[in-house]
Symmetry: D2
Subunit: 125 residues, 4 copies
């Protein structure tokens, strides 16, 4: 899935672990990812979380589409920091799955907390 995902490739996402419902990724912040205050753009934090959600939810083989997600931004992130992104399954029913994603910086501070709801289709991807 990552191979065909152009934007996740641009993010330089590395997969540490993927299994049904859970995954761990890593990423190093670069200067193209910063906003006008010279810290990591919130859109990157979200994108890392959303990719982790997609990998965890789709690991069962059935196509899952994100329908509603929210993210709390807790700490600013600086250039060159190494981030660890962890997605965990909170709930998986017949048609709805709920996942949380946490991102830690290299000092083990929680920089964001994400919750995402996916719709689970019957299509294999």
């Amino acid at each position: 899935m990552l191979d065909r995902d152009a934007f996740s490739a641009w993010l330089n996402l590395n997969i540490i672990k993927i299994e049904k419902g859970n995954c761990t990724l890593s990423c190093t912040v670069n200067s193209q990812m910063l906003n006008g205050f010279d810290i990591l753009h919130g859109g990157i934090t979200y994108s890392l979380s959303d990719s982790a959600l997609a990998f965890a939810a789709n690991a069962y083989g059935y196509k899952c589409v994100s329908v509603e997600t929210s993210i709390s931004h807790l700490y600013p992130v600086k250039n060159n920091q190494a981030l660890t992104i962890t997605a965990n399954e909170i709930h998986r029913g017949k048609s709805i799955g709920v996942y949380q994603v946490e991102i830690l910086n290299d000092e083990n501070q929680l920089i964001s907390k994400f919750k995402g709801t996916v719709h689970i289709s019957k299509d294999v991807w």
Copy 2:
């Protein structure tokens, strides 16, 4: 602000209008923005919304930081589509502001609905 915002520049964001509390932006989807299902990565939709939130909230001159945001993804977006991003102020108190952002595709379909809460500091940026 956009000039110093490296990731918004990468997104090819164009400013159509900015005023205190509101802004309108445009953007054309390119192939680097797609995910593994060959549609626009949800992280881009979020990033466009988050930049619009930042421009609208910071237009008063006081530094605003996004604390909690949520987005509903309503329609898939294909490569080369032109998007219009509109941020509106719902509420602005002394220390908290709330904004909504809608993105339309070039057929005027609502592709996402975003709500964001910012903390308003007393620092001028």
Copy 3:
């Protein structure tokens, strides 16, 4: 639906208008609805919004269940205030619907903004 809904009855909800995807309700705050700061408990604001969501989404005749909802609390509400609750459909697909609900006080101030996602089943209720 309201007739069988014990908690909506406790809330003294009045239906002003219900049609497919939209509804308008009214409610007057009483002293049992207040929290420890002597203002309306956020749970009541949410409950009014969630009932409005349910009435609007279920008005098509198919059973809809709320899966993920968020609410911004914008203004404190005092005892005896009359509230108007309005639900509008943002999106209705095959299996997912998205609605927003706004509550105004009797001075026409927006006191809360709610966004809710429902799963649409094929069961008639």
Copy 4:
């Protein structure tokens, strides 16, 4: 705080533990709390979570007001079930705090997951 909180009293909330940033509550569902589908109204689930958030965030002695909250409803809850509500602090900065609240039924199933953001004032309550 609970003594002065009329709606939390109506909910029959029992405090099992409160400390700075965290709390555990219990509650038994009764027939007035049900919706038109004869299951627990989502507004009650939210209210229990919001009260737990308030108790945990205000336990430092400074007045905290909820600004943005979201809840995922994961399992239907039936009449007479005993619920355990647990709030945990995810982050507490100078002016913003973020908390999560989980509710378990008496079979230890997670029935809802709530995330709440509060604004921390300098006023002692």
